[in-house]
Amino acid sequence: MKELLSGNEAVARGVLEAGVKLAVGYPGTPSTEILETVADRYPSVYAQWSPNEKVAFEVGIGASMGGARALVTMKHVGLNVAADPFMTFAYTGVNGGFVFVSADDPEMHSSQNEQDNRFFAKFAQVPFLEPSDSQESKDMLLKAYEISEKFDTPVMLHMTTRISHSKGVVELGEPVKLEENRFKKDPTKYVMIPANARGRHKVLMTRLEELKKFSEETELNVVENNGSKTGIITGGVAYQYAKEAAPDFDYFKIGFGFPLPLKKIGEFIKKHETVLVVEELEPYYEEQIKAAGFKVEGKKYFGNLGELSPYRVALGMKEAGVIDEVAMPVYEPEKLFPRPPVLCPGCPHRGVFMALRKLRVAVTGDIGCYTLGVLQPLNALDSCICMGASIGSAIGMERVQGSDKGVVAVIGDSTFFHSGITGILDAVYNKSNVTTIILDNRATAMTGGQEHPGTGHTLMGEEVPQVDVGKLVESLGVRNVRHLDPYDYEKTLEVIKEEIEKPGPSVIITNRPCVLMPRRIMDEPYVIDLEACTGCSLCFRISCPAISASSEKNKRGNPKAVIDQTLCTGCTLCAQICPEEAIILKSQFVKA
């Protein structure tokens, strides 16, 4: 049977077909839909969200030691968090097959960097497979489990945004039957005290030699002969771009990316006049092929930045002199205004950023929807590094600048559970005067509203107790804990101001849920009384998508405001800041 599946959905299907017993991860674009699909369509597989990728990876390790096939999913930067267990699990190896997905984000569609995690696999000396479409995403997952069990190693499935989020036709298969398997005590393999770890490092080296042989033989690395003088070495989605630009060249398509089949690649190179390496981001293949003494070119023509495209690859091939013509765009685009993403109408973060902008304090930010607080016209966020970084960096800045300057950390609830708790612990332990605002909207909102330890539900829909953030930070030793309604603008301003001035660490917790999740919140909308509106533009500056310019102008020719009735959630913020009381409830306006 055939189905139109995204790369992520295909991996989820692969989870079922490979007989995976446990699938675990932390949400992160572009990886999130893998576990969502598993939980939604294949409930026979146990699936869970963990608070962060490190815990998720460790849960996966435990499942593998327990004899089951396990899958762990994360976005590229998630592997930084999980790097600690990953690097040493490479030594111990597996019992049940262990595969983790690293979903990289070239172009940073929704990420803070575009690190190339193929280097991570090489760093840990762990094999990785690189699918180039949805069908391969499923097929290679199945193959990855065989490799994991055969060579006693974790395996990385390297995906990118265009693989994860592109749909293609996939032929479905049947689930495999696996033999029963359980944990077997073996301290020399699993207990990495130095004496055992030295032994396992040797095992890792021996395994690497076996994997090199495998890489030379496996059909995952394919040569396509068309009799051309030019040869292309490529893998992942870059293969598809290159095939589109030059379908009739000879191809060396890499599906097994570490260790590379350098002998086989060498033979391919010798048969061609010119060989180009087409790969996204870093020169991962190119460096190793050049280091092996072969003459190839790649980054010189295709660049290291952002994602490739059929157009970019064709231009690079033309520059390299292997193709003559590239179809060029014919129509000139108009220079237009930008349309950056914005906080939703009624978003409970908005009031907090309006207050922070007014207070002119340094605001260290974090990873989530609220990072959008940096954009015009809110302009109220000063840093964004990684999950949890807001608190630690606020502590450091406050220490060197002094608290009279005011340093505030803002962090979402899911990010707080992920890696903010230790930051608060540091603030208490080291007597910091930093103020942390936990924007608790009870959802992992940016990635689409996934469950977390504070939502009261698991990925599989089971009801569980919700973590009480206030009690948690109190138990860590925070004395100044305040709860805040971020729809009350004056109160928000007042509470943040008070806490900045207090000595010792403060934590302010907001209490409004995400307007989209788990259910869409729509209260009575507000309207603009155009007779009262003076066109002062104050309401434009709160950056609400429901408020825009009307065709009516004031005396100075500036537009008055209008509120989109289908978008307004009735959060009241704009009405609170309107100096003319021109923003009123729809029902009141009709009466008057």
Partner: protein
């Protein structure tokens, strides 16, 4: 079928519901026995930013994204976004755009930044084959603003080689039972709108 190679770019603003249209189109193409790939970006871009979906249909599709300047049909849910994307269109390509206007707050709050008052005209200055329709208004008249999707699909169906029956069957399968009739009506309404009718 003469030509079996089609690139379709669907653009709009996050939250407009670009997804359903691309899902139905892909399914229609797959059921016609063609290879299909469809690529979109999730996450940050959904929060009121520009969203775009690439759909490629051919006997064998390689890249999931379209070569710039090779789009056969540009379908836009918002007129300025159609203008922004015209460089993706190929020489004899068709632009189908809703005249919907969504002015972002960055424009209203930044001096000197403007939303083009004549976006459709600016497209027509460049491109010969343009269909601009008040999809929001038509959807409102049919009784549900969410029908914009299906109306635009109806318009687009005139420029793709699939039978009307195939579109209707896929629509029936993809929308909730109680909305089937109204969606079929919306599709038919859209299908009546062609280059020949808008220019007349």
């Amino acid at each position: 079928m003469e030509k079996s190679n089609f690139n379709i770019l669907i653009v709009g603003v996050g939250g407009q519901g670009v997804l359903l249209a691309s899902e139905i189109l892909s399914t229609v193409a797959m059921n016609a026995g063609l290879d299909v790939k469809k690529s979109e970006v999730h996450g940050m871009s959904q929060r009121g930013g520009v969203v775009s979906t690439h759909i490629k249909i051919a006997p064998k599709v390689y890249s999931p994204t379209i070569h710039q300047g090779q789009v056969d049909v540009l379908l836009s849910f918002e007129q300025a976004e159609a203008l922004r994307a015209v460089n993706w269109l190929k020489k004899d390509g068709v632009v189908i755009t809703s005249t919907t206007t969504l002015v972002p707050s960055i424009v209203t709050s930044t001096k000197g930044m403007n939303y083009p008052e004549n976006a459709v005209e600016l497209i027509k200055d460049r491109v010969e084959r343009v269909i601009a329709l008040e999809a929001d208004k038509i959807a409102g008249e049919l009784g549900n603003p969410r029908l914009v999707n299906t109306i635009l699909l109806g318009v687009m169906s005139n420029y793709l080689p699939f039978e009307k029956k195939a579109w209707l069957e896929t629509l029936k399968a993809k929308v909730k039972a109680k909305f089937v009739d109204i969606n079929l009506k919306a599709f038919e309404t859209g299908r009546e709108i062609k280059l020949s009718t808008v220019d007349a």
